[in-house]
Assembly symmetry: C2
Homo-oligomer: 715 residues x 2
């Protein structure tokens, strides 16, 4: 696994004796100090004097930070380094020594950090300081990040604080260790062996999260089982919390709304029933006895069959506020998901969350975060931003992204999500004349909210490489960096990741990042171009199935989303259709509603368009659609060729895995293209545009494919 490259081996490396001591299975993620030893040794040489915790400091997270820096320096500094300089870590509150340096830490909050190079008593010194232990810990990782990227430490003076308060991974992990929409093995939580055995992977996980500023984890699936709130499972969660705590992370649990019935023996889970409220209060008290810094509950209620307050004709605010009351005295937070759509509601699915929650604006307790998916449907390759952003000024809204690629090719498609994060977060909500981006809603600036959050549905599993593929590690990494700063630049984040994960050689980094930056548009093009969505095989979501139209609930059918017929394709969400556009601020609504202004990306999301409609370039919609599918396939072929040229810069194991996955991706991109083109040609009755290659098989072939054992299915 290679969790720890001891310093003596680093010495050997430095003097050219050691080759790669192990296969690169990806376990080390972007924390590969030994691999960078050769290139950074010089800049670190002055600090061979050591890593010191400022005197008096006792915060566990500062001790963790110091230990991390020692590990980094042991791996990266040549033993011959003669420098006597030091790295000093601490907080003014914890250490008189650090206080005596008179550093300006205003505006850094509890989690921000300052890195500064000073001369202290004649010796070169790097200070890693923060107002709280978490800040120092993040500062330590910021320092190693600089070093791993080969950046100079000569004039080091860096200050940074997270713009979002709760930066949380949501694990859709079941108690039987299966993972809903998991493509990287089983759950990393080995419930069977907890609390008796704390797998060292939990520490590795916490460390990786701390390195990118993630400060919380929801351990269990939002489709929650009541058992997760029983004594034995609380004890298991407490054992995980003990491991995560020194790394600045809190544990949260998904709560099943009907638990008072299933566990408490009550007849109801009505949130206004005093016995129900008392049961939850008792449960919260029990959890906090085991986990004093428990983060709180995540709740999926009245959605896709989950119980919730609507079962008792109460509002989502009633439900959330009841749980919030149980947590309030302990400092916990309720993350209440806005992802609802009702079995019986004939309204456009894209509208239902907005319709349900907007009227509740201002009615949520102070410790409730409303957690809204990035788009109005469900983590599609591309969606417009969710219209709730900007529409509920009196309610703090967390944004939920999906890191696991349920709709983006599972583990084997290379799709970098940094561009998707940025696209959503930079979207103008239109609720102000300017400056009202989704990011400004999420980070609380727009309305002055202090409780803020960003959630990522984790792509982490038991696979040795954590995420099922090396490049999916970049999505975990990017999530942490965007949660720290929702205005981050996706290219810069990709460059950081690529340099740390492979090599800082620009001949590798720039072409690799080029691939990453183009990758998500490629997936949009070969799966769901021009604003199409949700055309994946029903249930497992593996591969194309735009023809499915016979399932009981309308919104289970891909045909519900594309609405293709002889004349045209697309979902009319203008006034002549579902009028979902009206859920956006007027300026945005006008843009989306105009066939000339909506743009290619969201064209068929908002409009039903005739096949023969001519787009700006002059080609018909039908021609354009087919050529977009072609373009997607070609883009993957280009990525494959690009990667092949990078062979000299990567170790064999990670290179070959990526190469194999790109082959799979190209084959599946072609499958997507061929099946979709065959289907839409059939529906539209139109011939293929001139010069376009025909699908490899007829439509019946694609329709007959079955994947009963595709991974990630709920059970």
């Amino acid at each position: 696994m290679g969790r720890y490259g001891g310093w003596r081996c680093a010495v050997a490396l430095a003097i050219g004796l050691c080759g790669p001591a192990q296969a690169e299975d990806g376990h080390d993620l972007w924390l590969r100090y030994s691999a960078h030893a050769g290139s950074v040794s010089a800049s670190l040489a002055p600090f061979a004097g050591g890593v010191t915790v400022a005197s008096g400091e006792r915060d566990a997270r500062v001790l963790t930070a110091a230990s991390e820096l020692r590990r980094a320096l042991d791996a990266m500094v040549a033993a011959g380094g003669t420098g006597t300089g030091e790295i000093v870590l601490g907080t003014p509150a914890g250490s008189p020594q650090l206080r005596s340096l008179g550093l300006d830490l205003h505006g850094l909050g509890e989690e921000g950090y300052l890195l500064r190079r000073l001369v202290v008593q004649g010796r070169p010194t790097i200070v890693v300081a923060g107002n709280g232990g978490a800040g120092v810990l993040y500062g330590a990782f910021a320092l190693t990040r600089r070093i791993e990227q080969g950046l100079s430490l000569d004039r080091l003076d860096e200050r940074s604080a997270p713009k979002v308060k709760l930066r949380v991974l949501d694990h859709w992990d079941n108690l039987d260790r299966s993972v809903e929409r998991g493509y990287a093995g089983q759950s990393i939580w080995d419930w069977q062996k907890l609390p008796g055995y704390k797998d060292p992977r939990y520490t590795d996980y916490a460390r990786a999260n701390a390195s990118i500023g993630i400060n919380g984890a929801v351990l269990n699936n939002v489709n929650a089982k009541p058992e997760s709130l029983t004594g034995p499972y609380i004890a298991k969660a407490a054992a995980v919390a003990d491991v995560l705590r020194p790394w600045g992370m809190k544990v949260y649990l998904s709560a099943r709304f009907s638990a008072p019935i299933e566990l408490g023996g009550l007849k109801t889970a009505d949130p206004l029933d005093p016995a129900v409220r008392a049961w939850w209060q008792g449960k919260a008290d029990e959890i906090y006895r085991a986990i004093p810094d428990f983060g709180g509950f995540l709740v999926k209620a009245n959605s896709e069959g989950q119980p919730g307050p609507r079962d008792y004709h109460r509002s989502h605010a009633d439900g959330a506020n009841m749980l919030a009351a149980a947590l309030a005295s302990h400092g916990g937070t309720v993350m209440w998901r806005a992802f609802v759509y009702a079995e019986t509601n004939p309204e456009d699915r894209a509208k239902q969350a907005h319709s349900e929650f907007k009227p509740l604006d201002g009615r949520f307790a102070d410790n409730v975060l409303l957690q809204v998916k990035n788009g109005p449907i469900d983590f599609q390759p591309r969606e417009p931003f969710h219209s709730l952003f900007g529409a509920m000024p009196r309610t703090p809204l967390a944004i939920e992204f999906q890191l696991t690629k349920e709709y983006l090719g599972f583990a084997t498609h290379l799709v970098y999500l940094g561009t998707l994060f940025a696209e959503t977060l930079r979207s103008d909500t239109g609720v102000r004349a300017h400056g009202a981006s989704v990011a400004s809603v999420v980070d609380g600036k727009l309305e002055g909210h202090r409780l803020t959050g960003m959630a990522g549905v984790a792509n982490i599993g038991s696979d040795c490489n954590w995420t099922g593929s090396v490049f999916d590690q970049a999505n975990w990494y990017a999530f942490g960096r965007f949660a720290w700063d929702p205005e981050a630049d996706p290219r810069a984040v990709a460059e950081e990741w690529a340099a740390m994960t492979f090599t800082d050689d620009a001949r590798f980094v720039q072409p690799a990042v080029d691939m990453m930056m183009r990758s998500r548009q490629a997936a949009v093009d070969y799966m769901t171009p021009l604003g199409l969505a949700h055309l994946m095989g029903t249930g497992h979501h593996y591969g194309p199935a735009p023809w499915v139209a016979d399932l009981a609930r309308p919104e289970w059918n891909p045909a519900y989303y594309h609405r293709a017929d002889r004349n045209g394709i697309g979902f009319d969400r203008t006034r002549s259709g579902s009028n979902a556009v009206a859920q956006y601020a007027p300026r945005v609504a006008r843009r989306f509603a105009g066939l000339d202004t909506v743009g290619d990306d969201y064209l068929l999301w908002f409009h039903h368009v005739p096949w023969d409609y001519r787009l700006k370039g002059g080609a018909t919609l039908w021609e354009t659609l087919v050529r977009r599918y072609d373009r997607g396939v070609a883009a993957v072929a280009a990525m494959r060729a690009q990667w092949e040229r990078l062979r000299p810069f990567a170790d064999a194991e990670r290179f070959e895995q990526t190469a194999a996955f790109l082959r799979i991706q190209e084959g599946e991109a072609r499958w997507w293209r061929d099946a979709s083109v065959a289907y839409f040609a059939n529906v539209s009755g139109r011939p293929l545009p001139a010069g376009v290659t025909a699908p490899a098989h007829d439509l019946a072939y694609y329709q007959a494919l079955r994947f009963p054992y595709a991974p990630g299915q709920a059970h």
Copy 2:
């Protein structure tokens, strides 16, 4: 993961520069060349001249063997070694050079090997020779085994050949990657990514198996899905076969008997129906086109709900012979399981397989192996040997052991199975005056069978350490060694394993092996002492549930097996009961039938005994039973203490994991003891013997425990 420690790092190790370059996650199993470098370097120094494939030799397995030896020597020989001696590998058939040495390879078959130290042209030479490439490969691993154990090479002259022909792991791995009775993560077969991506783990797996002589793997669960025989899954299996082939391993598939209906659209799967026979012939031909050396089919028929020939009123021989005919021209084998018991059969479950199969003796085709579990029920902590061994002289019988510890504490109980293998294999079947052990049936000596086999239900999964715990690796190892030689000594095998896996320091090996040797009796004592069996929680088999008596099928209930009442306990299998004893040869039957001769181990397996019956020592059965439970718990406590003393000899990660698991085991042993004693005290109405500690809770507490998410459950 540390699959490969390059030689340069070994150099650094030798000169004391490198510390352990990585955490010990267990991935390297017993193949830890680098770890042994210091202690063996001297004996290898004369052979620094290199590893040479004898001229002319082209067998892929010989090339694999040479590559393995180079890897070993690169890791273990100091670069300063000045010797010019060589290690030469090859077969007389493939290499004139090797033939010229005039070695005597008679009696080694295709898979045996000769290791001999010679002087060739004045240079010290070790020859690794065999009649076939597999023999050379096994010889190479035999050589590294000697080296890792620190044995001298000075007078090397070792010859060995496997006594059993098919040495096969049975993976109960489902196509959704869950593993029935798997406690080490998911299936190692990542069907979703196959054939496009061949995980390097497949190579590591094949290599580990080759190192212990395992030459086949059944890839999918005996509770088989028809899809495993479709084109896409055959292509996936072929990709695995391509990886396994150079390591001397063949791929087998579990076949679902009703596949002609489910895949072929036939109305029947009647084995005498010409269309059914033609379908299987076509399917076999299709498989062999993709996998020219396909091993054959494993079949579970008419057992636990699986389809089979009895559905058509045909015999098991009819079913097996039909499949055998389809495979015969390709050289494939049918492994037909004797593990059958019928839903509607009121006969003692322990008798049913014998009753069903003995009348079919001599009626199976030449390429059918009848695969019989070690005991008559189902892999219990202790069972007498299966009475079919010795009872079907005209039929080759393979023996099936379970390496995954379904009934032995899952991944967290330390239970070494070498003693169980030896106990069964050394059992005297009684069908001759002497020399008719189960081993002599299995290796074919007794009746002169050439087709022989041993199957191990694999304990391997996607966990980085392969088997869920370090000590479970020993059971995989021991299975390979016993399949090679059914008369192997379990202590010697454990010593080999411990020395290679940790250190050859006797201060570690002897105490560790002492623990292993006592471990299985400990589990018998705290779970099912004195011949009790199958008292585990129904379905998941986790923990005690002797009180379960209300399930639909009698043999699903633990109460069916222990038959405890106010007066006594045990299953009367003598003439006054089910008379299962009569299925054994007369001499053995007499011993089992006698209350004085049966012995403690099988007492309650064969007899219903009054609680107040006095055993040889003078204590009553009730007192003895309770004290056996106590003894089991005490044995685990002693193992924990023993392991603690071994801390200086093991790396931290493997030491701590084992220590944590022993803590879990001790807690669960106590749970077994307390729940069982509470229950049997209640049934018997007897007080606890004097001085015995009362159970920690009352019986109702234990009965209320539920484990809906225990791992390994079928679905």
